[in-house]
Point group: C2
Chain length 293, copies 2
DNA sequence: TCATTTATCTGACTATAGTCAGATACTCCT
DNA sequence: AGGAGTATCTGACTATAGTCAGATAAATGA
């Protein structure tokens, strides 16, 4: 039962699983609506959103989306109103009847999942849940995309906001003025800021700045708590090192606080060696350096 | 990160996974054939089969399947010939060009799977493979269907054939005449024979016969080796006990050989208690009984 | 202010997916 | 041999999915 090639395992799983779980998708039917309309209804139910957001999320053509929405509106399931902030945009939300249908849909989907689990013992169910949770985390981690953004952009501010919040929580940290001071350094030509995005959500971030001839510094590296243990930190670190290389660095440094033990472990595993203090950062207690091969 | 409800985990996984892996299905496209035709081409490539088999496997309407096949034949990708054994049936197989396309399809699908794994470390890949393998086994086990068949039917003979082969392998067993002798007892009205089927393949079997007033006996219980550890034996046993109840049994007995340690463990966990020899089966060394509540 | 860009909608399409009622050719059973 | 049943095919449909080129209205920037 030991499979040498993970790719083969992935393919076998996909084939077997989708065949069996295809039935789960059937729960989208039986409401008297075609699949496309039902997917849209479901998506609106999760969270009212602008037409554009829905289109991107479901990968729909603009004309097609418009028609589906009109159909749902005609059936009295959704309401489409202009967004007061930008009257070009239109926001779709469920009506009372639509909400009711959505709840039906949820119940149906839930019932299907329960029916799948029903023949299993308690122990097997929790094994399955554990396997799927771990697989999900790994697959999510594998499909994260790294995006180079301006440190002042909303995505970057969202990520650094969470980063600073965590630092405040873990040790005596004060970020007064940091944002403005660093933002300049973490953008081209001397630096970059990278946000890791999954499902449109920032799940990790990090930046590089040049602090001397051939010397780069990694700053603000952070991984969302729910995403730790998936190797995302290591990947991000390698990515940032590549960025530093492109910026002309031959060696890369970083500082951190003794409270951030996982981070210190990560740096050590990645080949960083402790060095003496190289800056006057009051929050830093540990300093590392790594030559870029 | 601990999820109380496995059904929620299953649903979240499905949503997240299919969204990311949907791209895998895209590999079916880009050959210049529509999805349906490509699925059919792929299935024929796995193993040439009769039109009917293909139809069942892919869940196609007969007219639709016929048309898709004709299109593939017109494109020179498949050959459809009458089955010499039954000239109503037609067998589809790939032509040289079709085989070439199929290999392309495989390569494409493989590349997608590898691209998914590419960002992961070696360790993470094997973790993912292990999770998916276990999840797959559990889901397969959960979706096995129990079918009551005649013990002389091809499906039953296939299963008992494998059962006897295993007995011969594990201890000094001789099945001379057993097939005919038992076949009579394992069919209605006094008995039943059940085959567990997954993907059209027999993966477990077992029978019940009546050996006295209110006394049933479980016979020929077997689970395919690759399917052990998924709780299928326990489910089958419970199913057979239900069958015995329906046949009017108040108590159910069974015998087994000391070499079959997993089976003995299963019976003990299921509430079977050792009793003295109740028959003259020369291969039996252990005898069990359980009252049916 | 006016040209540009953006968000959405409309109309006019095409192809795919899928269904259903027969028709046809073959097999099996008595 | 002949009737019942089976496997497949054909013709005639419908609806869904999806595409594309504009049209329209609101926002944006020089």
């Amino acid at each position: 039962m030991i499979e040498a090639d993970p790719a083969v395992t992935v393919r076998r799983f996909n084939r077997s699983y989708t065949q069996r779980i295809g039935a789960l998708e059937d729960s989208f039917l039986g409401l008297g609506l075609p699949l496309g309309a039902t997917r849209l209804l479901f998506e609106i139910g999760v969270q009212p959103a602008t037409v554009q957001t829905l289109r991107v999320r479901l990968g729909l053509d603009s004309g097609y989306a418009s028609r589906l929405l009109r159909r749902l509106a005609e059936d009295g399931l959704v309401e489409v109103t202009a967004d007061p902030a930008d009257r070009r945009r239109r926001v779709a939300s469920l009506t009372a009847i639509g909400r009711q249908r959505w709840i039906e849909l949820e119940a149906r989907s839930d019932a299907k999942a329960r029916a799948l689990l029903e023949p299993l013992t308690e122990h097997q169910r929790s094994r399955l849940a554990a396997c799927l949770t771990e697989a999900d985390l790994l697959v999510r981690a594998a499909t994260v995309t790294f995006e180079e953004v301006d440190p002042a952009s909303p995505a970057a501010r969202e990520a650094t906001g969470m980063y600073f919040a965590e630092l405040r929580h873990r040790f005596d940290f004060d970020d007064a003025g940091l944002d403005r001071r660093d933002a300049q350094a973490l953008r081209p030509p001397g630096g970059v800021f990278v946000v890791a995005v999954s499902d449109g959500e920032a799940v990790a971030c990090g930046g590089v700045q040049t602090i001397g001839a051939g010397v780069g510094e990694i700053k603000r590296m952070w991984v969302r708590e729910t995403w730790r243990g998936a190797g995302l930190g290591g990947r991000l670190l390698r990515h940032l090192e590549d960025c530093a290389r492109h910026l002309g660095s031959l060696v890369v440094r970083l500082d951190t606080n003794e409270a951030l033990t996982e981070a210190i472990g990560l740096y050590e595993r990645a080949g960083y060696r402790p060095i003496g203090r190289y800056n006057d950062n009051p929050h830093a207690t540990h300093f590392f350096e790594k030559p870029l091969a």
